[in-house]
């Protein structure tokens, strides 16, 4: 038997050599715990993320936009499933994870606690929220845990559709009537800062970053990803004639990046801790859906057992 110290040394050597860790491989308890926390939070975010968009399925302005939004929301459910499956390879049970979400023990992305007030918000979510998610998820395609990395590859392939459909909505509205243009700008104003917060606290305040980088769970820091997202998005806003709501936003020739104004982290922590505009509503809807679906899950099991019994008798 190898000592724990020896096992940990071999584990880190594998990580350093870019060898993926697979479910049955030895791993430090803290690595397993970090992954379960991160992957389940990610799964919860996909599932809760269906709610703000679901708000507009019945009110989509055309049949085309309705079927697209339906397909997108269905994708989010699928992404939640890929991620729950990846988490389950670490020895946790799906029901346990859902329980943690519903009791508030597990978090989900704070962005989904903001309301979707107009159709332009659906555009802004696809363009900005999915855009920010893509920056994070492209990095996670190279994460050190095999099942998580593979889930991310699938998800990234599908996210690109999400961002493009969102940008198309914004583009159409920005080029539409003055009222539509105003709605697009208003949506950008409201979603811009919360989108930047999606990358998490600044590097000097992020408690998990150093260890996650060492284990190659993360490959880039929160601030690096945030900068990457801003640099990409500014040009996209300019192209459709919308203004990023940040008076300090300025191209920095020396850094070859955009400088940006201070982020209101107080708001971020307020929303994370349950005081965002829609936290209670989101959890209420989530729990209601789960509880009201219980009889369907039970009936399906009863039916499967009955079928099996019939088969055995024949």
């Amino acid at each position: 038997m190898l000592s724990n110290e020896q096992l940990e040394k071999e584990f880190q050597a594998k990580i350093d050599a870019e060898i993926k860790i697979e479910p049955k491989d030895w791993m430090p308890d803290a690595y397993r715990k970090t992954l379960i926390r991160q992957i389940s939070q990610h799964a919860h975010s996909e599932v809760v993320g269906m709610l703000p968009e679901g708000n507009w399925i019945t009110r989509a302005p055309s049949l085309r936009s309705k079927v697209i939004l339906l397909a997108k929301v269905q994708d989010e459910a699928g992404h939640g499933l890929y991620l729950y499956s990846a988490a389950e390879t670490l020895g946790v049970d799906r029901e346990e994870l859902i329980e943690e979400l519903h009791t508030g023990k597990a978090k989900y992305s704070s962005i989904f606690n903001y309301p979707t007030l107009t159709w332009a918000d659906i555009g802004a979510i696809g363009w900005l929220v999915d855009g920010a998610a893509i920056a994070n998820q492209v990095m996670l395609c190279r994460t050190s845990y095999g099942p998580y990395a593979r889930a991310m590859v699938r998800i990234c392939k599908e996210e690109s559709f999400h961002q493009r459909q969102g940008y198309e909505i914004m583009m159409k509205m920005a080029q539409g009537t003055p009222e539509q243009r105003q709605m697009a700008q208003d949506a950008l104003n409201r979603w811009w800062w919360p989108s930047l917060m999606m990358f998490g606290p600044p590097d000097d305040k992020s408690i998990h970053t150093a260890q996650s980088l060492k284990w190659k769970i993360k490959r880039q820091t929160n601030d690096e990803l945030r900068q990457e997202f801003i640099d990409k998005t500014v040009k996209q806003a300019e192209f459709i004639g919308l203004t990023i709501p940040d008076p300090d936003l300025k191209w920095n020739e020396e850094r070859q990046h955009y400088d940006y104004g201070p982020i209101n982290w107080e708001e971020f922590y307020q929303v994370i801790n349950g005081n965002g505009p829609c936290n209670r509503q989101r959890m209420r809807d989530r729990i209601k859906a789960h509880e009201e679906g219980a009889w369907v899950r039970e009936a399906a099991i009863a039916y499967a057992e009955k079928k099996q019994a019939k088969k055995n008798a024949a």
Partner: protein, 95 residues
């Protein structure tokens, strides 16, 4: 959590005829039929497959990674099984 839960299934997809079924992930379903229908919905939304296998996760028997060294040792010490082990003069041509 004393309620009965849907069991976990491993999903294998053949992306087109001529290729192997490949493991793509897992999902919960009450029975095999539902597992196939759900696999269609979550793993084949964009023409990713022409055939689906579902296997109860509990039925899969796997090798132990801790015993990998001993398990694969016989393959490592028989280099004469590889074509590059043999020196064939260039004049003979491709072989």
């Amino acid at each position: 959590m004393n309620k009965k839960e849907w069991p976990l299934w491993e999903i294998f997809i053949r992306s087109k005829n001529g290729l192997n079924h490949k493991h793509v992930g897992s999902l919960h379903a009450a029975d095999a039929e539902m597992a196939i229908e759900n696999a269609r919905d979550v793993y084949c939304r964009r023409n990713e497959g022409v055939s689906i296998w579902v296997v109860l996760s509990s039925q899969i028997v796997a090798s132990d990674p801790d015993e990998a060294d001993a398990l694969y040792e016989p393959a490592k010490n028989k280099i004469y099984r590889h074509p590059t082990f043999y020196e064939i003069p260039k004049e003979v041509g491709h072989m």
